[in-house]
C-alpha cells in the first residue's frame, strides 16, 4: 500500500478516527455536555467530505482531466493513473467517490436529527454516534469495493452497525422489534449474497468484480448464473425492492428516526453501488445481461406499484416514507435496465442518473425525517398524519420545508426530485423501456396523493385542539433548512452536481 492509496482511503480513515474519538468522548463527558458528541460526529463527516473534495480537486489539478467515472474500462482513460488500489480490493472512481459523498452527507445529516425526548438519553451517547460513524464508514467502503471479500466485509461493517443502531432505543419495544427483524432478514440476505459469491468464485476462480466473460457452452456458466441470481436476490433485499421489501416498513417505523434516515439514504446508496458494480461490471457480458435485465425490469415495476399503492393507506408518516422509499427504489432500478452492451459514456449517464437520484432522495428524505423527529410541546410525536394538522399555522417555515420535501418526493418541478426522476426515466426510455416508464409514471400518480396528504393536513385542516407547537431544537432546524434549500437549488441547478461527473 503506497502513500497515494492512503490518500484515496483517507476519507474513510477520518470517519473511523472520528468514531473512536466519539466513543471516547462519551466516556468522559457529563450528561449536559453530551451535545458535543453529536457535533464531533458531524464534524467527522464534514471533514471526510472535505478530504474527498480535496482528492477530487487535486486529481483534476494533477492529471488535467476529471477522475475516471466508472470501472476499469473508464480508468484506462487517464494515463498514468490507477483507480484500482490495494491490489484490486478497491476501485476509487468517480462513482465510488459519489457514493462516499452521499454516505458522508447522510451521516452528517443523521447526526443532526433530534431524538424524541424519550430517545434522548440513548441517542446522545458515544456508542450511538460511534456506531453511526462506523456504519457510514462501511457504506463508503461498499461504494468503492471491488472484490467479493472487501465487499462482504464492508457490507458487514455497515449492516452490523445498523442492526445495533436500529435497537438503540432500548426502552421502546418497537425499536427492539425493528432490530431483531432487521438482524434476521439482513443476515438472511447476507447469507444469500455469500452463497452467490461462493458460486461465482467456483465458476471463475476469482474474487474480483472484473467482468466475467464466458462462452455460452462453458460448463461453468450455470454455476455463474446461479451465483448471479443469488447475488441479485441479496442486493434486492438490501435496496428494499419488491418482492423482498417486507422488512422495510417495520424496521423504518421502529428504529430511532435518525437511524431510519441513515438506513433510507445511506444503506440504500451503498446497496445500489453494489448493484451497479455487479450489473454493469461483473455481469455486464451480454450473455448475463439477457438474464438479469428482465428480472430487474419486472422487479422495478413491481416495486414501484407495490410501494406506491401500499403507501396510500398509511397513517403513520414513517411507514408512509418507508413505502415511498420502496417506490423510489423502483424508480432507481429503471436506470439499470441496459439490455445491450454499451459504451462507457452510456453507463456513465445511467450512473449519473442513479447518483443524482440518490443525492436528491437523500436530501429530501433526511429533511422529512428531520421534521418527523420533532416533538410537539404537548408531548406527542409528529407520528401520524393527524399530528401534522394545522402545523403551518404555528410553524410556517417548517411547514414550507416539509412541503418542499413532499413535493420533491412526488416529483414536482422545479425541485430536485423532479430532475432526478427526469434522469432515470430518460435513461429507461433511451434503452427502449417506454412501456415500463409509462407504468412507473402511472403508479407515481398515486404517490402524489399520499405526499400531498401531508401538505393538505399542514395547510388545509384545522387541528383537533390548539395548533401544534414543536420544541425548538436548533440542530433539527439546521438540518431541515439546509436540506430544504438544497432540494430547491438542486432542482433549479442540477448541472452543478451532475456536471462534476
Amino acid at each position: 500500500m503506497n502513500l497515494a492509496h492512503f490518500a484515496d482511503l483517507l476519507p474513510v480513515g477520518v470517519v473511523l478516527t472520528a468514531a473512536l474519538v466519539v466513543v471516547f468522548l462519551g466516556l468522559i463527558l457529563d450528561a449536559k455536555d453530551r451535545f458535543v458528541i453529536a457535533l464531533v460526529a458531524m464534524a467527522g463527516c464534514v471533514l471526510g467530505l472535505g478530504v474527498l473534495a480535496q482528492n477530487y480537486v487535486s486529481f483534476e489539478a494533477y492529471y488535467k482531466v476529471t477522475p475516471p467515472w466508472f470501472g476499469p474500462l473508464d480508468s484506462a482513460r487517464v494515463a498514468g493513473h490507477t483507480a484500482l488500489i490495494c491490489g484490486g480490493a478497491f476501485m476509487v472512481d468517480g462513482f465510488g467517490m459519489a457514493i462516499m459523498a452521499i454516505a458522508l452527507l447522510a451521516g452528517a445529516l443523521a447526526t443532526l436529527v433530534a431524538g424524541h425526548s424519550s430517545e434522548r438519553s440513548a441517542l446522545t451517547s458515544g456508542e450511538y454516534h460511534g456506531l453511526l460513524l462506523l456504519a457510514v464508514a462501511g457504506m463508503m467502503l461498499l461504494g468503492i469495493s471491488h472484490d467479493f471479500l472487501t465487499l462482504l466485509i464492508s457490507l458487514e461493517i455497515m449492516s452490523v452497525a445498523t442492526y445495533i443502531l436500529a435497537g438503540s432505543q432500548r426502552e421502546d419495544v418497537r425499536s427492539g422489534e425493528a432490530a431483531i427483524k432487521y438482524l434476521t432478514l439482513g443476515a438472511f440476505s447476507t447469507a444469500l449474497l455469500m452463497l452467490g459469491m461462493a458460486f461465482v468464485f467456483g465458476a471463475t476462480g476469482s474474487l474480483s468484480l472484473n467482468p466475467i466473460s464466458m462462452a455460452a457452452s462453458d460448463p461453468r456458466r450455470g454455476l455463474a448464473l446461479l451465483g448471479m441470481g443469488l447475488l441479485l436476490v441479496g442486493v434486492l433485499f438490501k435496496v428494499g425492492a419488491a418482492p423482498f421489501h417486507f422488512w422495510i416498513p417495520d424496521v423504518y417505523e421502529g428504529a430511532p428516526t435518525g437511524v431510519t434516515g441513515l438506513m433510507a439514504v445511506g444503506v440504500k446508496a451503498a446497496a445500489f453501488a453494489v448493484v451497479a458494480r455487479l450489473m454493469f461490471e461483473t455481469f455486464s457480458h451480454p450473455s448475463f445481461r439477457q438474464q438479469w435485465v428482465p428480472l430487474l425490469a419486472s422487479a422495478s415495476v413491481l416495486t414501484m406499484a407495490l410501494g406506491n399503492l401500499l403507501a396510500l393507506r398509511q397513517n403513520s408518516i414513517k411507514r408512509m416514507l418507508a413505502y415511498s422509499g420502496i417506490a423510489h427504489t423502483g424508480y432507481l432500478l429503471l436506470a439499470f435496465l441496459v439490455p445491450r452492451e454499451v459504451g462507457a459514456s452510456v453507463v456513465e449517464e445511467h450512473l449519473q442518473a442513479v447518483t443524482f437520484y440518490l443525492l436528491a432522495y437523500g436530501l429530501m428524505t433526511m429533511g422529512a425525517f428531520g421534521v418527523v423527529a420533532l416533538v410537539r410541546e404537548d408531548g406527542r410525536a409528529l407520528e401520524t398524519m393527524d399530528d401534522f394538522a394545522g402545523l403551518a399555522k404555528a410553524h410556517p417555515a417548517l411547514a414550507l420545508c416539509m412541503s418542499i420535501f413532499m413535493l420533491s418526493l412526488s416529483g414536482m418541478p422545479p425541485l430536485a426530485g423532479f430532475f432526478a426522476k427526469f434522469m432515470v426515466f430518460r435513461a429507461a426510455i433511451e434503452q427502449g423501456y417506454v412501456f415500463y416508464a409509462m407504468l412507473g409514471i402511472l403508479t407515481s400518480i398515486a404517490s402524489l396523493y399520499y405526499y400531498l396528504r401531508v401538505v393538505l393536513k399542514m395547510y388545509m385542516e384545522e387541528p383537533a385542539g390548539a395548533a401544534p407547537r414543536c420544541h425548538y431544537v436548533w440542530t433539527s432546524n439546521v438540518l431541515i433548512y439546509t436540506a430544504g434549500a438544497l432540494t430547491f437549488v438542486l432542482g433549479i441547478l442540477p448541472h452543478w452536481i451532475i456536471g462534476l461527473r
Binding site: S345, E349, A392, K393, P396, L407, M412, P413, P414, F418, F422, F425, R426, I429, E430, V434, A437, M438, I441, L442, S444, I445, L448, Y449, L452, L456, Y459, M460, E461, L493, P494, H495, I498, G499
Partner: protein, 509 residues
Amino acid sequence: MLLTALIVLPLVGALPLLFARDQNAREAKGWAFLVSFVTFLVSLPLWFNFDPTGPLYQFVEKHRWISLPRLNMGFNLGVDGFAALMVLLTTFLMPIALLGSWNYIKERQKEFYIAMLVLEAAMIGVFAATDLFLFYVFFEASLIPMYLLIGIWGGENRIYATTKFLIYTVFGSLLMFVAILFVYHKTGSADFGITGLTERLAALRLRGTFSRTEEFWCFWAFALAFSIKVPIFPLHTWLPDAHVEAPTPGSVVLAGILLKMGGYGFLRFIVPFFPVASEHYAPLFATLCIVGIIYGSFMAFAQQDMKKLIAYSSVAHLGTCMLGIFSYRIEGVQGGMYQMLSHGISTSALFLLVGMLYERTHSRAIAYYGGIAKVVPVFTVCFIVVTLSSIGLPLTNGFVGEFTCLMGAFFREPWWGVLGGLGVILGAVYMLFMVKSVFFGPLVRKSNLTLQDLDSRELSLLTPLLIMIFVMGVAPTLFFRRMQPAAEEFLDYAHTKKPLRAAAPEVPQ
C-alpha cells in the same frame, strides 16, 4: 430581458411577504397589488413594441441553463403574437383579481398573496417559454399554488375539489412527461427548443423513422394532458368542482388563464409536433367539442348555483374555441385564439361579479335573489353588459370570437358550424334566464332590500374589464393582426406544408 423581468418580478415581490412576521399583515394585499400592477406596467411593451410585421418570435432571450453532454435545456424565452397577448392577459387580470380579493380573503392573507404572485410568475413562464423542458417546469409549477388557493381559501368542499383538480391535471401531464422524454430521445437528444423539436420531428417523419404508431401514442399522451386542462368533454368533471370551491380570485385566474394553457398546448405543441395524428383525430376532437358545447350549455341551464353555471358555460365556450382551432382554417384558428382572450375577460368579470354578490349575502343560489335590479342598479348594468359579452352580442368581444370560430368550423364542415352555433343560442338562453331570475321580477327576499351597490374599489376593478369588452368588440383588428403570423405558422404545421429549412438539424440515428 423583458420576459425574464416579468417572471422574476412577482417572485421577488413575493419574497418580502415570505419574511413578513405578521400573518395577516394589512400591508400584504397592498404590496401584492403594487407588485402585480408594476408587472403589468412592465409588460406593456409586449403590446406597444411588438411588431406584427416582424419576426414570428419577438423579445427573444436565450440563456444557458442546464448544459450537459446530450442534455441541453435553455432558459429560452420568446413570444409570438398570440403568446404575447396571453402574457398581457395574465398581467392584466392579476391586479384585478388581487383587487377582487381585497375583502374576500380574511385568513392567512400573507400566504394567499404569496401563492398568487408565484402563480403569476409560473403562468407568464408557461406562455413565454420557447423550450419544452422549461415550459413543462412552469406548467407543473403553476399547479401547486392553485392547489393551495382552492384547498386553503376555498369553500365547504374544498379539499375534495382541490385533490380532484390536482390528480386530474397531473395524471395528464405525467403521461405527457413520458412522451416529452420519448420525443427528446427520438430527435437525437439535442435540445428542447420547441421550433427545433418540431423541425426535427418533421424531418424524421419524412425519412420514415418516426412511425405512425409512435406519433399516435405521443399524440394521445400530449392530447390527454391538454384536453384535461382545456377541458374538453368528457374530461371536464374537475372544473365545476374546482370553480365552485375556489375563492373568487382563484376562479378568475383558473378560468381566465389556467384553462387557456390547454388550448395553448394544442396550438403550440400537439398540432405542430404530430400533424398527421392531429389531422386524423381532428373530426373526433371537433365532435367532442360540439358535444361539450351542447352538454355544457344544458348543464349550465340546470344549475342553481351561479358559479357552477358560469363554470359549465366555460366548458361550452372553450368548446367553441377548440372547435375553431380544429377547423384548421385561418378564420377558425384566429377565432379560437381570440375567443381564448375574450373568454378570459368576460368570464373573469362574471366570476368577480358573482363574488361581489357572494361577499354581500353569502349566497350564490339563483333562487336566493330576484328583483335586485332596483336595489343595485350599477351592479345590474355591469352584470348585464358582461352577460351580453359572454353570449356574444355584436360590438362585444364575445361576438367576434364566437363568430370567427364558427365561421372557420362552417368552412371546414358545415354541420360543425351549425351544431356549434347552437351553443350561442343556448348560451343566450341560460345566461339571460339567470339575469332574469336574479335581477328582475318581484323582490321576494326582504334582506336583499339593503344590498349595497358597487363601491369605488369594485367599480374601478370592473372598469378595465368593461373597457376591454368593448375595445375587443369594436376593434378586433388590433388583435387579429398580431395573431395572424402565429396562426399562419400553425396552419403551415397543421397541413404539413411547412417547408423544412435547408439548415434543418441533422438527426443522428
